[in-house]
Symmetry: C3
Subunit: 638 residues, 3 copies
């Protein structure tokens, strides 16, 4: 508490203010030039001794005294000096308690605060701490208030009665003062609460200002040099800094984070580094050693967008965690997905809950659709760049802004991400060189990318943390195992692709379009192995690549199933999103939907209208001009 509030009443002008120290006040509560109420407790030859509180007392020298005094009599004094030995001397203030008008202002003891950074050093001793409640977990025993101050978050256990909510009026978001004793408990420092009270008025405002300022400062990401110089990338740096700040702030506020990412190579190169960086930061901020496990969870998305099913499941878990553990609802971090209109239904469902959403993506965005629903949106298209800046490249820098100590481990990741997404970015050369310094030549990069693909398929929609870390050589991955594992998985992947293509190639139908482009079609339901690796999207892509090698550009490839088709094209001026829109209009009742990039995409339709849709599609493709520059570099979505 400060003197401000008391000082205010001085503005009344005529009425004097006399401060009355509470019994527990100590010398540190006494300020100069301030009138205090005192009581005489002794009279000696050279003066009188006065008490200002139980422990604050001192001499008023006879030289400054006038009149006569008796023990027990009250008077007003102010500090004259504090001697070297700590003794205090006071002098009378000219206020007559009997005759003058004055206001008596009580002064509480200002407790010295012990920040969460000094708890371990104060285990077993009573301390005071001010902070904001970020989680209230009712256990069968005590109520656990997680409290964030300038330095971190600490669990504080308050016991009312077994299973009964202690301090029921206190809620998440309140700024409080805790008096209690830090103890080591199940591996964490926890404060056993002796008292807990809301700060009110100025005290609250001051504390909140102080906390906000500290949080603001701690939320600042690290100022790092990007791994490579890349002008195109520079345009996105500020956006990434903003997200880094938001994520760090989220951790500091004790809010959980849910990461959903595209279940492919670039998606994993994006999500795993950010996950590691956030786990490290959470461990730094939270006294509770289990906090990293409880506060961040990563899961691949089931579809190449945020499905209603995923969102419903995420929301359901979040509500349960709130109800069981008193956690705040999480921030949702979408990586390598989340920029398109297909994400809107899921986002809107979450929008009725306190769940901030951040998307970092390099797929063609629909900012009109998602803009209002996102708290932050990073996407190269928003800066006239494109998919060639992959999400993995972006997120490696994001991870480093959150925890720069990861830098050495991450040097090869942007190259892996780029190879996975076939990025033709001008910076790929630099990334590949960077990777080479870490021992990753192009073969190894391709192997890692292929291994990721293969592992992601078999993991289905499990996060597979350790396996992916071994493949990416992150965390504590053993290098030999990493190398062996990557070789094996990459080889398996290629063998399975070969096997698929050996069988499928005979059934690819060929047609020469008027434009001169080659058109290939394959019925992946009937002429590819189902429910195994590679899935239809990759199968189509691999056929396409072989046909380019065989025939040279221009090539269009269509892989179709009962109610879907995947499309790849090189050397032809296609605009798949526009074609899909046209088909939607031209073929009412065919249930056409889909999209993608200019020359790579997918389309869905009613099974009963397949022939009509594919015929119309081919007609459009036949009418398209050739354009050598257009290449289906970006990956297909399934």
């Amino acid at each position: 508490m400060t003197r401000d509030s008391a000082g205010c009443s001085g503005e009344d002008g005529d009425v004097s203010v006399v401060y009355d120290l509470a019994a527990e006040c100590t010398a540190s509560d006494v300020e100069p030039d301030t009138p205090y109420l005192a009581e005489i407790n002794g009279i000696v030859e050279y003066g009188i001794f006065v008490d200002l509180s139980d422990t604050v007392s001192g001499l008023v020298h006879e030289s400054v005294l006038e009149g006569t005094f008796g023990v027990g009599q009250e008077l007003v004094v102010e500090l004259e000096e504090v001697r070297d030995n700590g003794d205090m001397a006071f002098q009378p203030v000219d206020i007559d308690l009997e005759d003058d008008e004055y206001t008596l202002e009580p002064v509480d003891h200002e407790y010295p605060l012990t920040g969460t950074d000094r708890l371990q050093a104060n285990v077993g001793e009573q301390i005071h701490l001010e902070g904001e409640i970020v989680q209230v977990k009712q256990t069968g025993g005590p109520t656990i208030f997680h409290i964030a101050d300038e330095d971190g978050v600490v669990p504080c256990a308050a016991f009312e009665e077994a299973g009964v909510r202690a301090y029921p009026s206190l809620e998440v978001g309140d700024v409080v003062r805790v008096t209690g004793t830090p103890e080591n408990r199940e591996g964490s420092v926890q404060i056993e609460v002796d008292g807990l009270s809301t700060l009110e008025g100025d005290d609250a405002r001051d504390a909140r200002d102080r906390l906000d300022a500290a949080l603001e400062e701690r939320a600042q990401p690290h100022d790092i040099e990007p791994l490579i110089e890349w002008p195109a990338f520079e345009k996105l740096r500020d956006d990434l800094r903003e997200v880094a700040t938001l994520l760090r702030r989220t951790v500091l506020e004790g809010r959980p984070i849910r990461v959903r990412h595209h279940a492919d190579g670039d998606g994993m190169c994006a999500a795993v580094p950010v996950q590691l960086a956030l786990e490290n930061f959470i461990a730094k901020v939270h006294e509770d050693t289990n906090a990293p496990e409880h506060l961040i969870k990563r899961l691949p998305a089931k579809a190449p967008f945020y499905e209603m099913e995923d969102a419903t499941r995420d929301l359901n878990f979040a509500l349960e965690d709130r109800s069981r553990h008193g956690q705040q609802l999480p921030l949702l971090l979408m990586l390598d997905n989340g920029s398109t209109a297909e994400d809107v239904p899921a986002y809107e469902t979450l929008s009725h809950y306190d769940i901030p959403i951040v998307a970092i993506d390099h797929h063609h965005p629909d900012p009109d659709a998602v803009g209002d629903l996102l708290d932050a949106h990073v996407n190269p298209y928003l800066h006239d760049e494109d998919y060639r800046i992959t999400t993995g490249m972006l997120c490696v820098e994001l991870a480093r802004m959150i925890d720069p100590d990861l830098t050495d481990d991450l040097r090869h990741i942007p190259a892996v991400a780029g190879v996975s997404d076939r990025s033709k970015a001008d910076a790929m050369g630099q990334y590949v060189e960077l990777a080479a310094e870490n021992g990753y030549d192009e073969t190894r990069l391709r192997d890692v990318s292929e291994a990721l693909d293969y592992a992601a398929f078999w993991l289905r929609y499990n996060s597979g943390d350790h396996l992916i870390e071994d493949i990416l050589e992150l965390s504590d991955a053993d290098e030999t195992r990493h190398r062996d594992l990557v070789s094996l998985l990459a080889e398996r992947s290629r063998r399975d692709v070969d096997r698929q293509l050996d069988d499928a190639m005979d059934h690819v139908e060929h047609e020469r379009l008027e434009s001169g482009a080659h058109l290939y079609r394959i019925d992946v339901e009937h002429y590819a192995h189902r429910f195994t690796y590679p899935a239809p999207g990759k199968t189509t892509g691999e056929i396409h690549d072989r046909k380019i090698t065989e025939t040279g550009d221009p090539v269009i490839t269509i892989g179709y199933g009962p109610d879907f088709a995947v499309l790849r094209s090189d050397g032809v001026r296609l605009d798949i999103p526009r074609m899909v829109s046209e088909l939607e209009e031209e073929l009412p009742g065919a249930g056409v939907s889909g999209g993608g990039h200019l020359v790579v995409g997918s389309i869905k339709f009613l099974a009963g209208k397949r022939e009509a849709v594919i015929d119309a599609l081919v007609e459009k493709m036949a009418a398209a001009d050739l354009d050598e520059a257009l290449s289906s570099a970006a990956p297909l979505e399934n």
Copy 2:
């Protein structure tokens, strides 16, 4: 122990009974007019001092004594008086221990019992308690006996050796006396056991009678006024009371409850209120604060009946809980399903285990098939009523019988249930009015119903407790969020239905039957979007409704897939269950099965016989007379 048993031997007539107090007996065990064996421990001028037990002793005044006595000599006395200071005076009884024939009847110390309702007040002090063992959980440390007395269930920890079963002869169902000390442990009162013994003979009989009487009384449901006056409903009230009693008794006996319900709007309106009521009652009965979480679980059923897969899974979990936690096997509560022959295989599998089954349903029942397998069966058809009394309407009253405090929260639920199941009950008006009083107009009711449908689809077969509570505005749902969420989900649902129908309507085939009815057919496999909302059943229903609006009655709609069809009809005298039976006979080898209500249902067949089955079906439909009264009000099953 009471005197009854001892008193019995008095009936022998000639033989006297002398009571012999056990060493630990206290003054409270001494009853007037009862002869006790005593031993002289002192002789004074004015009489002799006798001991009846370690702590019961007193004076026999010389005035009532005859003859000579020596210390250590035994005699028979009875209570003369208890003085104000507690001293006891005895007088001799005329039984000569040496010459007379008598029976010596031992008297145990009658411990004062402390019921589970007074444990918190006796924390830290040794108490005695009698009750029935309802669960025996062997932990790595002590053995935890959950013991139910007249007032509740308390965990009692007995320690023999780490991980070793204490009192191995004691089993669930035994009536025991516990001596121990209540302690607060992990948020619950738990008794640390000093001693635990089975009651035998009369003691056991008495205790069990007392416990049974108390349980009987506590199991009684609350006497509530139904939310509305509705004569048809009255017929089912006694059945519901019986179920309420059974469920409350199940809780009092410490048996877990597994709720399985139809995964639709009415099913959730039925299951969630009952779940909340039971959780509240469990919390009241059990000292263990985690009991509600451990003792009731709700899950939607995968199929519109109780599938073998669900039953196998439920049984498997139940056996595991018994083995790991010593829990009793659960009671299975089927809601809005469970009345039909399709449930029999699953029921029969459970019937070999101690798993009572209760069904509350409003689908057309097959009481001959399920009757013997159910411990209770509530269904309007059993009282000549029908599906218009929805399960949600029934279960709201059931929930109120279990916990009437829920009443205010539940007023709108019957109307939501009715709207969800398109109930044309005469009472719908009253329910809608009741909902209106709570701010639910018809639009909002339809929105909630639509939102439930949509959420249930995306939750797949998760219970989604909090999300559903938010939609139904139950538990601690925030009203604003509830409203926003419901609007959003309802709107999404309608948009998805519109999208589906926009595409599908073009492919609906029309035919005018001779009867004048319109017949519409749609191949939902080829002309509707698959694996998304709305599923084939709802898609067909929505097409049907639109066609009624377009053309007016009479209308029949068939939505078919490779091996199934869903059927809806309005204004035609169909009897789908009979048609299915006929097809089964007329088309042997077509694998026909199915059923439903008169004018709404579904049918399955072998994929290779689709054409034959649907042709035969249409033929039957064409031959059916018109009947304006018949409307496909009830919902389709998938």
Copy 3:
């Protein structure tokens, strides 16, 4: 420490060795005929008192002394005698510390070791123990080292700072000496560590030798008589003993075990007994009462081989358990699967991790493919026997080698396994008799087999421990429930099969091959109920059996779906694996794969090539000679 190492330096010849007891040495460290460094601490009339360590001191009698001595002076002594009261007498050794050349050899205190078998008796008292670290689990509080000595494995809790790794240099595999206090903690004896140090040099070598020898001995399986005399089986006994040793050693080393087995009757008859035996052995070895739950897990395999998806999931869990609980990676035990080339991709993925793999199988093996990947491989074909020795028969003996106390419970299991797999082994008669002694006549055996099949289908890929134990009458299964449950499930199974066949039989196509064999074909996708019991494999098998009964041999049956066919043949000289190989070559681009036994198997192909594949297959079958001896006894795989 032993004297060996010190003794070695004696070999140097000229240089004397003087031993210097460490301060903490006690009388037990003093050996006869060994020169020790001593210090004089007192001089009396009859001799001098010398100290050899803090607690070892004694008299050197003046009669054996020459020269003069002062307190503090050092000399060399050896033990003369230990008196009855424990007093020690020494005599001087003729080594002059000032003039003679000698080597000073320090002697550490040899702590008396308390084995894990005597911990309970020493609760609360400090003990010493030597063993190998088998698991290091970092908790939020202490670090838990699981340490294996000659007698068992005990958790040892070392506390550095909350959540901080104690003794960070110690790893799994190190041999250490623990000083600490056994305490009862959560039901287990756990040692609270006072000190923990690696053994070095000779100490380590000695300890490891001792531990290895003890482990070797304890790993030895029990010497049991096989349940029946069966020469064919004898050939596999040594292989089984080797696996029993390996599994027991795995338990002793604290490594977890993951069991994957064929999800059919024989697979469960194999896996459940081994699981029970290992659980019992783990409970015996580990002080931690939760060890059986943590260290062995059984799961049915999804496919009739070890799928990449299962392997990825197993690996992922194993890595997580290592990371969270410091567990070693598990041993994988494949039962009734695992011998074929189809298992190779999964095995190779695991091969980069420390995961030993053992397979016990009776399917036709491909030892060239799997040989190098397996640590042990038991298969009758490796000994010129065949599938008639079922895996269940093998594993019952294996289970008995691990825990012979199970014998009485397991007598009927081999017969159940044999009936399940239709084994025509010559020993079936003996097994059936053995089962009969336990009350299992042939009807009951068939019922159990049928019930297993039915339960396995509905359990999908859950282990269903208790349900399966009830069906097999293992563990604590109640006999009445077992009988009722088996009857019910067997009856259900037969009823469902009948229903399936009633519908399907009309659609079976018949053809008389030139060889005179009957060929039956059924399109199980279109003419059998899908996604329900019985699945296509069993449906085809049952049709085949009925056709044999109807027409007598020879009969071939093909049940085909869109991209697969299951094959059964009796009385025809087929060689399905060869036919599949031929088709692969003759029909490039048809994606043919598959296999099985000679006359029972399955084949996969591209959906679009079904007709071509089946036509070619039938052509081969038509060309096959008849051979009465060949019967499709073994079960189909799905």
